[in-house]
């Protein structure tokens, strides 16, 4: 993975695989604390306690294939950038995974195309409620697909025109967030 936004796309696939109907991605950038954190919370079926211990093992997976590299790769990249990952899960309730990074660490991966990640997820999973929050120091941007669907009335959220709007909406609001 070359970008954090790709890790996010990857971890969200786990939530979808766990049958989540609500997924929240929260990115917090705080230059004063030199912190970059990514938190993904879902209401999927959760992970049993004994499997939680194995999650960081690249050769552990509950799928048919033989490897489970998503979480180990994220862990490796977080640790390379002075951070770590934390996973909390409760069966029947959902899972929260938080990855932290030192914001100015040389090895911290760039955010990358987060708008492409978000629109990609919405395109393929229009039924899932998806919330994206991004803060930079004390400013915050938030997007909630439920709110967008309410505005859209009967226009499908995964129509190309709407997805293009969402992509621009994210780009422009993030730029605003980063502007002093």
């Amino acid at each position: 993975m070359k970008e954090l936004s790709l890790h996010i796309l990857d971890i969200v696939q786990n939530s979808l695989h766990a049958g989540a109907t609500e997924i929240e991605v929260t990115i917090a950038e705080n230059l004063h604390e030199n912190l970059f954190s990514v938190c993904i919370t879902d209401n999927g079926h959760g992970i049993p306690a004994k499997e939680l211990l194995n999650l960081q093992d690249p050769f552990f997976t509950t799928k048919k294939k033989k490897t489970g590299l998503g979480i180990p790769l994220l862990k490796q990249h977080a640790e390379m950038a002075g951070g770590n990952i934390e996973i909390k899960s409760e069966v029947g309730k959902g899972t929260t995974i938080t990855a932290t990074f030192e914001h100015n660490h040389f090895d911290r991966q760039p955010m990358g195309n987060i708008a492409g990640t978000i629109t990609g997820i919405i395109r393929a999973n229009p039924e899932t409620r998806f919330i994206y929050k991004h803060s930079f120091n004390d400013k915050e941007f938030a997007l909630d697909t439920t709110e967008i669907k309410t505005e859209l009335e009967d226009i499908p959220i995964n129509s190309n025109e709407v997805l293009r709007f969402i992509q621009d909406y994210i780009h422009e609001n993030l730029n605003k967030l980063y502007t002093k």
């Binding site: 799928k63 048919k64 294939k65 590299l69 790769l73 629109t119 990609g120 393929a124 190309n160 709007f165």
Partner: protein
């Protein structure tokens, strides 16, 4: 500062789209249109499947081909990511490997538009790694 889109702009877009008669929910008749599934697991994402999916969706629309583009899990052909399954109406699905933007363009023009097979097809009898050994 440049203009930033707001939900007001979304409402304007909604009204614009409502006045267009061509827009309809594509999920109502998925069998009658081209169905494209892009594999989106760790191996695929690391190889560029997000860009492939967004490219295919944009280009199919630009070229006026009615299609639904969605994602699927790992198909087991991790060596050939990004992999894409294309199902033309009334035909068996075909899986293509190594689908970058250039390959995606070729698939749209030659296979989807022209019905001509292109290089890079993963044969049906190829055993994927997630198949159980018998």
């Amino acid at each position: 500062m440049s203009k930033v889109k707001t939900l007001d702009d979304l409402r304007k877009l909604r009204d614009e789209l409502k006045s267009k008669t061509t827009l309809r929910d594509r999920s109502e008749n998925p069998e009658g249109i081209v169905q494209v599934k892009v594999a989106m697991a760790t191996c695929c994402i690391a190889s560029g499947s997000r860009e492939t999916m967004n490219y295919l969706a944009d280009e199919l629309e630009k070229r006026n081909i009615e299609a639904v583009v969605t994602q699927t899990g790992c198909m087991g052909y991790c060596y050939a990511e990004p992999t894409v399954e294309v199902k033309m109406p009334g035909k068996e699905p075909i899986v293509f490997g190594y689908v970058n933007e250039k390959k995606a363009d070729e698939i749209i023009e030659k296979y989807i538009r022209g019905g001509e097979l292109v290089e890079g097809i993963i044969p049906m009898n190829y055993q994927s790694i997630d198949e159980d050994k018998k």
